[in-house]
């Protein structure tokens, strides 16, 4: 492990990334689709000289800037902040591979900002043509920034031939790139319409205007739905085999996929029978409910998209245990604790008796007294397993997932976790390390639940 490990009790630090990422995606997609909405609708309102609609769009633009430029932009920085803390090795790999991609995205961010502020603050102070131009530049820059970041997030899910060939473009144009651009573009259109319906249902004064908004925004939303379906199919078709297997195997993902499917169908139905066929339905209740469904769909979708990457953070490159996939054989030979600067320094300071010069002699771990072996096992757990498993209570806590396990089973799972669940990373340590890790797990594992019967009760009432 190249870096120190950040211990977040109960939740685990990678879950912080998931939380901030989902919150950001809910706003960033609106930042893209909302830009297109403002461009198309401002042009329409100017062309038809619809003052009432222009006034509404002005109000919507304020809401849009307040939400996207502040919350959207800062939570975007927040994701970057959190991945550097919780997955520093993956961030290191991504930054060294895609620094110029991020730099290009930054250029488009700055263009977005300039165009958004000019669009809002010069409202009514420039010609309609220029005003629409500002919106158009914003919409284009926002969409390009979506394309650029999708190249990087798609790479994380399926790195394609990058591990063999390397290079910026091989990584950027990965198998997930085109499907995810389609799906995210569709998601942006659909989610933006939901925000528009929500905002219009509360802030638009006349029912006639609400009907116009409902009808006009339904078409891009429907286009978004089609793109989501097409992109989603492409996403599934281009998943690595390990991700498809995770979707089939992991019970939590089965449930989430069912929820995602059901909520997506409900969203499409609400869109078709609501704003598209019956624009008059655009009441505050409908607006809130529709947006809530959209938020649930996006949240679940993003969670599934992240979860199917396991056991990788970057497919075939960085393991979820924060080591490189290519390092596993070396770590198995030299030792996991020995291979990380922080773990090596820790063992040297705590258990100098296991050191052979400046190196850890892994065999000596088993010579430690039992309490110290358990302590060494906890260190291994913390640095190898805590990215997915909480230590005591919380997310997939190790005492909870090992309730009643026999020592032999613990040993087998620790030695080859990938053979039990392919979405777990292989154990990247020596047999001595797996032994002390198993001993620590045994020390925290609760006993088999009492009172369970697997056959007829005996006359004495025993089990």
């Amino acid at each position: 492990m190249h870096y120190p490990w950040w211990y977040v009790p109960h939740l685990t630090s990678p879950m912080l990334i998931a939380f901030i990422a989902v919150v950001h995606v809910l706003v960033s997609h609106y930042a893209v689709g909302g830009g297109l909405f403002l461009f198309v609708e401002t042009r329409h309102a100017h062309r038809t000289s619809n003052r009432e609609y222009l006034d509404y769009l002005h109000r919507h633009a304020r809401f849009f800037v307040l939400l996207t430029v502040v919350f959207g932009a800062i939570t975007g920085v927040g994701i970057w902040w959190t991945i550097g803390l919780a997955s520093p090795l993956a961030t290191e790999v991504l930054i060294h591979t895609f620094v110029f991609g991020w730099a290009m995205e930054y250029v488009f961010f700055v263009i977005e900002l300039a165009a958004a502020f000019l669009f809002l603050y010069f409202w009514g102070r420039v010609t309609p043509r220029t005003h629409v131009l500002f919106a158009g530049v914003y919409a284009f820059a926002a969409w390009v920034s979506l394309v650029l970041i999708t190249g990087i997030t798609g790479f994380m899910l399926n790195s394609g031939n990058w591990p063999e060939r390397g290079g910026f473009w091989n990584g950027f144009f990965n198998p997930q790139f085109a499907p995810q651009v389609l799906a995210r573009t569709g998601g942006s259109l659909l989610l933006a319409s939901m925000y528009v319906y929500f905002h219009a249902s509360i802030c638009s004064p006349s029912s006639a205007l609400r009907e116009i908004i409902g009808r006009r925004s339904a078409r891009p939303a429907l286009l978004g739905a089609v793109l989501i379906v097409a992109g989603g199919a492409g996403w599934f078709a281009n998943l690595p085999e390990s991700s498809v297997a995770a979707l089939m195997k992991a019970p939590a993902l089965n449930i989430f996929m069912a929820i995602l499917f059901a909520v997506t169908v409900a969203v499409f139905a609400m869109l078709y029978f609501g704003p598209y066929r019956n624009p008059a339905w655009l009441t505050p209740g409908f607006g809130v409910l529709f947006l809530m469904f959209g938020i649930v769909a996006v949240t679940v979708g993003e969670f599934v998209r992240e979860a199917v990457r396991k056991p990788y953070i970057v497919h075939n490159v960085v393991m979820s245990s924060n080591i490189l996939a290519s390092e596993i054989p070396g770590h198995r030979a030299a030792g996991f604790l020995e291979s990380g600067p922080w773990t090596r320094a820790l063992i040297a300071a705590k258990f100098p008796q296991v050191m052979d010069g400046t190196r850890i002699d892994e065999r000596r771990l088993l010579d430690l007294p039992p309490p110290q072996r358990i302590e060494a096992g906890e260190i291994l757990f913390m640095h190898h397993c805590n990215d997915c498993h909480a230590t005591d209570t919380g997310l997939s806590a190790i005492p909870h997932v090992t309730i009643g396990w026999a020592p032999e089973m613990i040993h087998d799972v620790v030695t080859s976790p990938e053979l039990f669940h392919h979405y777990m990373p292989p154990f990247a340590g020596t047999p001595e390390e797996s032994q002390v890790l198993a001993e620590w797990i045994e020390s925290v594992r609760p006993p088999f639940p009492a009172g369970m019967r697997f056959g007829p009760a005996s006359a004495e009432g025993g089990e």
């Binding site: 190249h2 120190p4 490990w5 950040w6 211990y7 630090s13 912080l16 307040l66 502040v70 932009a73 800062i74 939570t75 920085v77 927040g78 902040w81 550097g84 803390l85 520093p88 290191e92 790999v93 930054i95 060294h96 620094v99 110029f100 991609g101 730099a103 290009m104 930054y106 250029v107 488009f108 961010f109 700055v110 263009i111 900002l113 300039a114 165009a115 000019l118 603050y121 010069f122 102070r125 420039v126 220029t130 500002f134 530049v137 910026f168 473009w169 490189l324 290519s326 600067p341 922080w342 090596r344 320094a345 820790l346 302590e375 260190i379 757990f381 913390m382 640095h383 805590n386 230590t391």
Partner: protein, 389 residues
């Protein structure tokens, strides 16, 4: 763990190599920091000064205060985005020390995001209270203004912690020992034991006041077209004492930092050729700006004068960024040799980025010019006089 050699904690050399030569990456790191420092200085010291002038300033001082607070949402937006560049290139060049340092202070470091969101929305709310030419903040917005000022200073302090800890490797083992669970870092520490932290923080905070003073002049000359002659005269008059106060702090805290607590390696690098050229320039350049402000005092600031003084201040911040880089590189030299990293040039993405960077600046300039010219023409039409533009 106090026996741990800090050098042993520097992260393993990455396998990917740099995507461009170190000089190129460092150039963008320093250039990015310079560009970020301009708006950042304005929220860092500017909001505090604006609130002080709201409470104790005269009419014209409050007018400047209101103008700055109204501009703050836009300043923050661009400042945050300009801050991405130096952080991006810092992570490319200094990843082996940047990630460990920030992980050691993970929670305060992450809190920057929450504090920034609060400060940003607060700044919007304060600005909203000053719409329509209002110059006096009222009611709860006064409290919000002070809170925003405090949040920005707190954010600056956490940043100073992160970046000073990046070079303060000798304190890593002790911080780690204090805040670990089975060797994993809880991330609740700050770099409070570093003697360079406070003078660095105060030195940069003082320098920020000089940028705020320059903003008064730049704003009066370039942006305050609709304000009275009296205001544009008084802005230049107000700027001088603010600048001198900032300059005095910069000199005092800078001397404390360089001659009192700076590690010998960094001091030697700064005081020996060629570093001494930048060190002396960094020390003297703000004085040149003070002289320029002195000559402008009591006169209505022209557009050219405002832009010229602003350009001088950008140069001051640029020199400061170069000197900081020299000191940082010298301090890290025993632990990190960034020139040893293999370089695998990513030519086509780099060229595309540079082309987009230049084109992007062009597009923004074109959009702004179009907005300004058209709005002036429309304003002139509505006033019944021919446009200037």
């Amino acid at each position: 763990m106090e026996t741990v050699n800090p050098q042993d904690l520097v992260a393993t050399l990455g396998s990917g190599g740099y995507p461009a030569a170190p000089w190129f990456l460092m150039l963008f790191k320093v250039l990015g920091f310079t560009l970020h420092a301009v708006p950042m200085n304005l929220w860092y010291a500017g909001v505090l000064l604006a609130m002080l002038l709201q409470a104790f300033g005269g009419e014209q001082a409050r007018r400047w205060s209101a103008r700055l607070l109204r501009q703050m949402p836009v300043i923050i937006a661009f400042g945050v985005n300009l801050g991405i560049v130096p952080l991006l290139f810092t992570q490319v060049t200094h990843y082996r020390v940047f990630y460990p340092a920030t992980i050691l202070i993970a929670w305060p470091w992450l809190s920057i995001i929450a504090l920034l969101i609060l400060a940003y929305y607060g700044a919007y709310w304060v600005a909203h209270g000053l719409r329509g030419g209002e110059t006096q903040l009222r009611g709860a917005r006064v409290l919000a203004g002070w809170l925003v000022a405090a949040l920005f200073i707190a954010i600056g302090f956490v940043f100073a912690n992160g970046f000073s800890l990046m070079t303060n490797l000798q304190d890593w083992p002790a911080i780690w020992q204090r805040t670990q669970v089975a060797g994993a870092v809880t991330g609740v520490a700050m770099n409070s034991g570093d003697p360079t932290l406070l003078p660095r923080f105060l030195m940069f905070f003082s320098l920020a006041f000089t940028t705020v003073a320059v903003h008064m002049v730049f704003d009066a000359g370039a942006l305050a077209r609709r304000e009275s002659e009296v205001y544009r005269q008084s802005a230049a008059r107000l700027a001088l004492p603010v600048h001198v106060a900032g300059l005095a702090g910069f000199a005092v805290f800078g001397s404390w930092y360089i001659f009192g607590v700076m590690p010998e390696t960094s001091r030697s690098a700064l005081l020996a050729f060629p570093g001494v050229i930048f060190a002396v320039s960094t020390a003297l350049a703000p004085g040149a700006v003070a002289v320029a402000l002195f000559t402008l005092r009591g006169r209505p600031v022209s557009f050219g004068a405002g832009v010229a003084v602003a350009a001088m201040q950008v140069l001051v911040l640029g020199l400061n960024a170069i000197s900081r880089q020299i000191a940082q590189s010298a301090e890290l030299a025993p632990h990190l040799d960034i020139t040893a990293e293999p370089v695998r040039w990513q030519w086509s993405p780099m060229v595309l980025f540079l082309v987009l960077f230049v084109a992007g600046l062009g597009v923004i300039a074109w959009l702004v010019r179009r907005a300004v010219l058209e709005s002036r023409a429309m304003e002139s039409q509505s006033n019944g006089s021919p446009g200037r533009g």
